[in-house]
Amino acid sequence: MSASTPRTGLRAWLTTDTPGSRRHAQAVQAYVRWRALSRNTLAMVGLAIIVGLLLMAAFAPQLATYDPIAQNLADRLLPPLSAGHWLGTDELGRDIWSRIVYGSRITLYIVVLVAVTAPLFGLIIGTAAGYFGGWVDTVLMRLTDIFLAFPRLILALAFVAALGPGIGNAVLAIALTAWPPYARVARAETLTVRQSDYISAIRLQGAGPGRVIFGHIMPMCTSSVIIRVTLDMAGIILTAAGLGFLGLGAQPPLPEWGLMIASGRKFLLDQWWVATMPGLAIFIVSLGFNLLGDGLRDVLDPRSAGK
């Protein structure tokens, strides 16, 4: 195809300089960004890892070779590459590969729950602070600063101590400690749109604060919050695994990766694979999120893209 022929079809529609509608413009922008992102090899590796994780969680029953919690004491602590257990077995004879496969569901469950609740909470706090201003702003931002000034893992530990161990409480504890950065971002965005004409117009039509905030300010904040969430994913995974490792997250016999490392710790020097394999899984997944997040930041943040 020569350069002089006018391009037609979807690609032309996606690369046009004169979009016909707002949605069209958004599609063009998304396409341009995707092109920039797809040139970044490391980011694509990260994306592949995450897609792999999603597929693994979706097709866990098909990928697993054994029941993840079925014990078989005759086959305990088999080394990797033994017959039928290519990653070996743990101290109760459970197949490590199958446990890692099912563990991906728990990891996803925790990450998704935190990634939905913490930003939502942060959005509400941040937009309210930015919209109302005055003492509401002062109080809410002071609160945010207090949480920001607190070491997160220690705060999460204290929360779990109060609520009791378990996946649900671990999610709650991580979410309770993860929201402040989102509140900051949302407040900054709110301050920039608060005085716009369209907000005044809606208020003159009689909309109350709730309607203005939820219907007209929050949608403006979501995109920057979403970027932030992608960058935070790896941190959430590591915190969740840390809580699991300490025995405060998922409880046995669930195949949570951090918990699996904790139980493999006892056999570390003689049966290294029991603790090593689930650790590799955590490492690969959080590396995937970090690589993608790094690439996304380069694409979406114009300041770092120029460098």
Binding site: L157, D232, A241, I261, L269, I282, L287, N290
Partner: protein, 374 residues
Amino acid sequence: MAEAETIDAEKTREARADLDAEFDDAPTGGFRLPGFATGIAKSALALAFTFLGLLLITFLIGRVIPIDPVLATLGERASTEQVERAREALGLNEPLYIQFGIYVWDVLHGDFGKSLMTSNPVIVDIARVFPATLELATIATVFGVLFGIPAGVLGAVNQGRWPDQVIRFVGLLGYSMPVFWLGLIGLLVFYGILGWVGGPGRLDATYEMMMEFDMTPVTGSILIDSAMAGAWDIFWNAISHIILPAAVLGYYSLAYISRMTRSFMLEQLSQEYITTARVKGAPEWRVVWIHALGNVLVPLITVIALSYATLLEGSVLTETVFAWPGIGLYITNALFNADMNAVLGGTVVVGATFIALNLFSDWLYKYADPRARK
């Protein structure tokens, strides 16, 4: 950890924005001291507020917990009268805000209550375990600074070329590895297989006994105490034990410090004074390591202080893996024994240290810069 990095980066940026604002408002000419004093008053007020908030959070957590403090101290067989008297003595019949007031008052007097685990006052326990954490975090930070700053400078000088990519990737690996797993793998390889370093704990059991009986703890840091007493065999044994956990923890500080150094250096290297220095014929190493790095050091102090604060937090998991008897291990052990006084006391101490270091680094940034002193 990656999370912590982004927040910290944000904080640094904010600190600098505040700084700029302060310069704009600063009266031109003459007296600088009043601004300085207000700055301190402001930080003191912010510190007080944040600390009060910290206490409020721990107080509320302590209230939600389903363990009844009366039952915990008296046991289940206490009579109704005894329970009532204990409730009165503990102030549990007062309204919540008065209870909170009592709690703040006690904490300000260093009274966190008694630990159920050790039956010592919590503050005594913490004074015993805190030096171990401090020692570990300090060595780790030294490690991070020694390797992180040169790595960041190399990355900036070779921007976009392979050394930069390698350093960036090594940093990303650090951000992605669970610290407890890296610690376990380190133990497996360097202790279990190679035998190069000491195992878990601060000393071998025999040296532990010697330390216990022959030496009076002065600073609580085994390295300093044994060196001062001239007990070099203990000193070297302690080194062999601290080197691995410090390296594991220091890796994270390295990743953060090198990333920040790189971006600060890039900023400086694009300045005109660098071009001037090159035009004057200054050798390239001098331009990079003296001219540019010299100007980067001030913001780097902030970064180092922040990473030090983060290490105190990161030490919870590391201490568990290496059986390092510091405050992190103390808190986690207390958790499993439902020893709420110890958990909350430890949380308050770590939180307060964290807040103080944050404030200190902000303050350093504002006043270590010679431009702020004119």
